[in-house]
């Protein structure tokens, strides 16, 4: 396990320090390379738990996907039956739809707010605190308020009926999806906003000044200066936003229980319900599919991000 020793050749410090090369990604210019064996010891407590509770059992659960209930090899039949089942298809489509609708919306909202806050200095700290505050609201309280306002006999329907507009069954109709998206934006825009603000602050003023001298105004500055310079932040915002779409399941669960309206039935419901039915094979197929898709997505984002950082 010990990495090979090599004397530094291209270091800024021409000393006789011994260097343990660890990876091709290692940063240039760092000169005293401390003992990397210690590194493993530091990571060990985490790695033990990480492998024990997540990685190893997950790897074991992958083997379930190739087995029948009686521990016989089943080939790909589990995959075929899960992918063909309408519940899985509905859940996969809804999960994808939530990401494709929710993530661009939350990115747009938070980017717009951050641009406004970036210009508007007085009081921008207060606005920032306000926009971050939905983070602390307990999920169950949010669910209760949604019930108060959007249940069949809720406040919204009472206002609609006063105005003579036909009432809606908000939570038990396609509107549930809209509600969940709105809650998602409400909850997560603040975090993304701070990420964007950090990105905006790191852009050198000179770029804006040059753009101004070149005669760029408003939209042009945004399109050709701000947006390209924000790309590194954008990647992280995207990653975090995708992570947070999965957390919307908590709201969906507290509003709709195990079987909510079909517009918000997502993969997590599918997995949970198969768990309740002790159907580990079907569950693991779904879990493994999510894993593969997300791992590919992370890999792609990582690569794209590296490419962008090199361009800049």
């Amino acid at each position: 396990m010990l990495p090979k020793r090599r004397i530094i050749s291209k270091s800024t410090f021409q000393s006789k320090t011994v260097r343990y090369p660890t990876s091709p990604f290692e940063r240039e210019g760092c000169c005293i390379k401390r003992n990397s064996r210690v590194g493993l010891w530091f990571a060990l407590p985490f790695l033990c738990g990480f492998f024990l509770f997540y990685i190893i059992p997950f790897a074991v659960s992958i083997t379930y996907t190739f087995q029948t209930g009686r521990n016989e090899f089943a080939g790909l039949s589990n995959y075929r039956s899960v992918f063909a089942s309408s519940a899985f298809q509905l859940a996969a489509i809804n999960t994808g739809r939530f990401i494709l609708v929710g993530v661009p919306l939350v990115v747009a909202v938070s980017l717009m707010l951050s641009l406004l806050l970036f210009r508007n200095f007085s009081g921008s700290a207060l606005f920032r605190t306000i926009f971050l505050s939905p983070m602390v609201m307990p999920v169950a309280s949010v669910a209760m308020l949604v019930q108060v306002f959007f249940s069949d006999k809720g406040v919204t329907n009472s206002i609609l009926s006063l105005l003579g507009i036909p009432v809606q069954s908000w939570i038990q109709s396609d509107w549930a999806f809209v509600l969940l998206i709105l809650l998602y934006i409400w909850k997560n825009a603040g975090y993304n906003l701070v990420l964007f603000l950090a990105g905006l602050k790191s852009i050198s003023h000179e770029y804006f000044e040059i753009a101004m001298l070149e005669g760029a105004i408003g939209w042009d500055t945004f399109r050709y200066v701000t947006l390209p310079m924000l790309r590194p932040s954008l990647f992280f915002v995207l990653v975090i936003s995708v992570v947070n779409t999965f957390k919307s399941f908590r709201e969906a669960y507290l509003l709709g229980g195990d079987i909510p309206h079909k517009s918000i039935y997502v993969l997590q419901h599918f997995i949970n319900n198969n768990f309740a039915g002790l159907n580990y094979a079907r569950l693991s197929v779904a879990a493994f599919s999510v894993f593969v898709v997300l791992a590919a997505l992370v890999f792609w984002l990582y690569k794209a991000n590296r490419r962008v950082s090199e361009e800049l």
Partner: protein, 280 residues
């Protein structure tokens, strides 16, 4: 021209703030209503026909709901205490484990640490349900299902925390560590007396985000704790809200206080910490 657009954007931001704050304000103000008032406005046979009415300002400010919650029955305080010690235990564990691992991934890279860190990022993105069954099987092997440890142990190994700490350690120049190493400090001394005090933003964000995640957990206790009486406030709250609305509001306020305090205390660190968390 410039001034006018600033005024417009300030007005727009204020409107947005009102929308953002509305749920919290509504919950707090409704918690100061007595049961009769809540029934009058929200019950099915309320004085306003079959629908609930919008009711923000209490007719009479009353602490009845709070008295009920705090004094009449011990349940709510017990749940609150359950949630609190669970969350604090989890966050403390996360701080230790994530700092050590983050330091290793950031400054003491070993062979394979890049691949492991990629695995951490992938796991961090997974919805909890993906590892749910894996978790359950292991905990069952250790006979922990139904015990609080079943919730605490997996939560302590928090991929996002490791990620956060690694990113914030990356911002510390290596020269600082080298100087300490030359002076004879061991790695563990460097971590605890130099690197951690310099990474308050990372720590602050870890505390806030870890606290919120643990405080709001829904899926894990449902699956891993057998007994309903063990459920933390986050799940119990949903039940109270359907049983007794005025208690639902006051318990919401109770559930809101700890995360709000943590948030307000560490907000500056969180904002700083979020800045460091950009992927590199």
């Amino acid at each position: 021209m410039r001034k006018k657009s600033n005024v417009l954007s300030a007005i727009f931001l204020t409107l947005c703030s009102i929308i953002v704050l509305a749920p919290m304000v509504y919950t707090v103000s409704n918690s100061f209503m007595n049961t009769e008032e809540i029934l009058k406005y929200y019950a099915n046979d309320s004085t306003f026909g079959k629908y609930s009415a919008f009711h923000l300002i209490p007719d009479h400010v009353s602490f009845e709901a709070y008295f009920q919650m705090l004094l009449s029955r011990p349940d709510y305080l017990v749940k609150f205490w359950n949630s609190l010690w669970l969350t604090v235990t989890i966050v403390c564990g996360q701080i230790v484990i994530s700092s050590l691992a983050g330091y290793s991934f950031s400054k003491l890279k070993f062979r394979g640490s890049n691949i492991l860190f990629y695995l951490v990022i992938v796991m961090m993105m997974m919805p909890y349900q993906v590892t749910l069954v894996s978790n359950f099987i292991v905990l069952e092997k250790f006979r922990l299902v139904g015990k609080y440890a079943a919730v605490i142990l997996p939560m302590i190994f928090y991929s996002f925390g490791v990620f956060l700490m690694k990113q914030s350690f990356d911002a510390i120049p290596n020269e600082v560590l080298d100087a300490a190493a030359i002076d004879g400090a061991s790695e563990i001394q460097i971590l605890f007396s130099i690197v951690l005090p310099m990474s308050k933003p990372g720590l602050g964000s870890l505390i806030i985000l870890g606290f919120l995640d643990a405080w709001n957990m829904v899926e894990m206790p449902l699956v891993l704790l057998g007994d309903r009486s063990q459920y933390p406030l986050s799940i119990f709250l949903a039940q109270i809200a359907t049983d007794n609305m005025s208690l639902g509001f006051s318990c919401s306020v109770l559930a809101l206080i700890p995360p709000l305090l943590v948030f307000l205390y560490f907000e500056d660190e969180l904002v700083e910490g979020i800045r460091f968390s950009n992927l590199k």
